[in-house]
């Protein structure tokens, strides 16, 4: 473990100092899931992406490496998570290649398939993906990557606390968070439309933690299904 870490540091230093160094051999890349205090960022090749500048805690702009106050830079589009860096995972279609997925569209209607899970829930005031939902998103991304004619609408929602229009923006950001995780895994941007509904379409009317938990969500809706 320590060797890989040192190797990663060397690579990072090399990249930062502009030297040409071969990237480390592609070993198993741990999926770090969410990081405290920031949005989810992908993992750059070689372990340390060249993140964007600046550190806004919420958006997880790392300055390369791991910023304890933010997510790790990467996830190339960099709208909400990660910086503008190109070193992130985002540009590739790593994982399943085109047409290469253990899933088929028929699985969308198979009650025993993970693909029938269409709702991702979020923590209060957070847009980062909880670790428990990563396998679901990986499955959807795998299918969508293999079947580029499939399209989804990602409908983001917020609980009732806070102002209505801010919640529309927050819920849209949640939709982008789901999309960005999946584009890092082969989804094409044009396959996904994002709509933020704020607190306007609650799954559960009423107050209290139980209702609020059910309302903070992104729903994956296959268009034309």
């Amino acid at each position: 473990m320590q060797h890989k870490f040192l190797l990663g540091c060397v690579v990072a230093v090399s990249i930062l100092s502009g030297c040409q160094t071969a990237p480390p051999p592609p070993g198993p890349i741990p999926d770090i899931g969410t990081l405290p205090g920031g949005g989810y960022g992908g993992i750059g090749q070689g372990g340390m992406g060249q993140g964007g500048a600046g550190g806004q805690r919420q958006y997880g702009n790392g300055a390369g490496g791991v910023n304890p106050n933010g997510g790790r830079g990467g996830a190339g589009s960099g709208q909400y998570g990660g910086g503008q860096g190109q070193g992130g995972y985002g540009q590739g279609s790593a994982g399943a290649g085109q047409g290469n997925s253990p899933y088929t569209p028929a699985d969308l209607n198979d009650p025993s398939s993970v693909l029938t899970q269409r709702i991702i829930y979020f923590d209060y005031d957070q847009t980062s993906i909880r670790a428990e939902y990563l396998p679901v998103l990986q499955a959807h991304a795998s299918l969508l990557s293999a079947y580029p004619n499939l399209r989804v609408r990602l409908e983001g929602h917020a609980d009732e606390r806070g102002s209505r229009e801010y919640n529309v923006a927050l819920s849209e950001r949640r939709g982008y968070s789901v999309r960005d995780y999946m584009t890092a895994r082969g989804l094409k941007n044009q396959q996904a439309e994002i709509v933020g509904y704020g607190e306007e379409v609650p799954a559960s009317l009423g107050h209290g933690e139980k209702s609020w938990n059910e309302n903070r969500r992104v729903e994956i809706i296959y268009v034309g299904e």
């Binding site: 209505r164 229009e165 801010y166 923006a169 849209e172 709509v195 306007e200 379409v201 609650p202 009317l205």
Partner: protein
């Protein structure tokens, strides 16, 4: 005995009828104040508009209403009156009037024994509007400030079960009476904003499957989509001179404040932060106050139509959003931890105070004279609208019989 019983039955059944009608009812939860201008309003001859005036004046928190039964005499327009019993009652002014087609009323000075003012208001198809115009005149005469009772409010009503609600955009008198539906949809409607001439509403509707800003003519009913860019189209706000609409668009990736000509052209970006910038409100023709979370959580920021980075405007409280600005007063929703409350801030001194007491208060909208704030709150398990006086001394809930109402917007002064 029999006669009294039948009268009682008539009264009870009349009360039941009015409770079950769909008209808005005003329920006072905090009666005015006891250190305001003491005014006695004698029930008017020929109609019930005195109650409209009484309710209006109370809503400002600037008046103490004295029970007319303490007049100690019969009072009528044009008649001389005794000052002693009026002074004993505590009243400084008395309002008497009569309605016969048009509405005539007088303001009597209880101390001098003289008639302070007399007014005549032409007949109107909306009778209550005559009462609101009278209340405006009385308010101006007694406080020196411009009245805002003869105005309207727009708001959203939702009904039905979760995930299958229907939404209505409604316009009503400023006290909630005479509601009429402007738009009905099975997709969300939100964020109404009045044009300065009071003839149009801008609002957000999801009827096409995503958020789009529409402008609807209230007279003709015609509507057009004015902002339908990729991403979010949100939070329209008409400029005070009617030439521009401010709005929040996320077409560049994150929500920023934009300006557009009122006819739909000339789009230009005002804020450029990577944060969420939304809920613009015009402080004057040059200045916008808006919500931004660039500090980590929502606070109010200030910028000008020239654009660029905004400067932070609120420093009290962890979460401030949804600004409404009239003159030097900024209303906002503030999360105080245990609740969301409405706060009013003096833009010069930056002092602020909480003027509501609910748990889920939000969406404040100041009356055009800055003396009252309408906002969304909860009562009896449903969303209701309430009006609080700017001095914090009075609060009235505008209770509806059905549905869940929210998202109010106060009209400008109307002709």
């Amino acid at each position: 005995m029999k006669r009294k019983l039948s009268v009682l039955l008539l009264l009870v059944s009349g009360l039941l009828v009015s409770l079950t009608s769909r008209a808005e009812l005003v329920i006072r939860i905090t009666d005015g104040t006891n250190d305001g201008i003491p005014v006695m309003i004698i029930p008017f001859q020929g109609g019930d508009l005195a109650s409209v005036i009484e309710s209006d004046l109370q809503r400002t928190g600037l008046f103490t209403l004295i029970d007319p039964s303490k007049a100690g005499q019969a009072l009528a327009m044009g008649q001389p009156f005794q000052t002693e019993p009026l002074r004993a009652s505590g009243a400084e002014y008395v309002i008497v009037g009569k309605q016969a087609g048009s509405l005539e009323f007088e303001i009597l000075n209880a101390a001098t024994g003289k008639r302070a003012a007399g007014y005549r208001i032409a007949q109107s198809p909306n009778q209550r509007r005559m009462g609101h115009k009278a209340a405006d005149l009385a308010f101006e005469r007694l406080t020196g400030k411009k009245g805002a009772f003869d105005t309207q409010v727009a708001y959203v009503s939702a009904s039905g079960v979760a995930r299958a609600q229907t939404y209505q955009l409604i316009v009503a008198d400023s006290d909630g009476f005479n509601p009429r539906t402007i738009l009905s949809s099975n997709k969300p409607v939100m964020s109404p904003s009045w044009s300065p001439d009071g003839n149009r509403l801008a609002y957000v509707s999801y009827e096409s499957g995503r958020s789009v800003i529409y402008v609807q003519d209230l007279v003709s009913g015609s509507k057009r989509a004015i902002a339908d860019h990729p991403g979010m189209n949100a939070a329209p706000a008409w400029s005070p001179d009617g030439r521009f609409l401010a709005m929040s668009l996320s077409q560049e990736g994150n929500p920023d404040i934009y300006l557009m000509d009122a006819n739909g052209g000339g789009l230009r970006q005002i804020t450029t932060s990577k944060a969420i910038d939304t809920e613009p409100a015009w402080a004057n023709s040059n200045t916008l106050i808006y919500t931004s979370d660039e500090s980590g959580s929502p606070q109010l920021y200030r910028t000008t139509v020239a654009g660029g980075e905004g400067s932070r405007f609120t420093f009290t409280g962890e979460y401030n959003a949804a600004p409404s600005v009239v003159g030097n007063t900024v209303a906002m929703v503030r999360d105080i931890g245990s609740a969301n409350r409405i706060a009013l801030m003096n833009a010069s001194s930056k002092d602020s105070k909480l003027i509501s007491e609910g748990t889920y208060d939000e969406s404040p909208a100041l009356a055009p004279n800055g003396e009252m704030v309408i906002y969304a709150t909860e009562s009896g398990g449903r969303g209701v609208l309430a009006v609080a006086s700017a001095n914090g001394k009075a609060r009235q809930v505008l209770a509806t019989q059905v549905d869940d109402v929210r998202d109010p917007a106060w009209s400008p002064y109307l002709d």
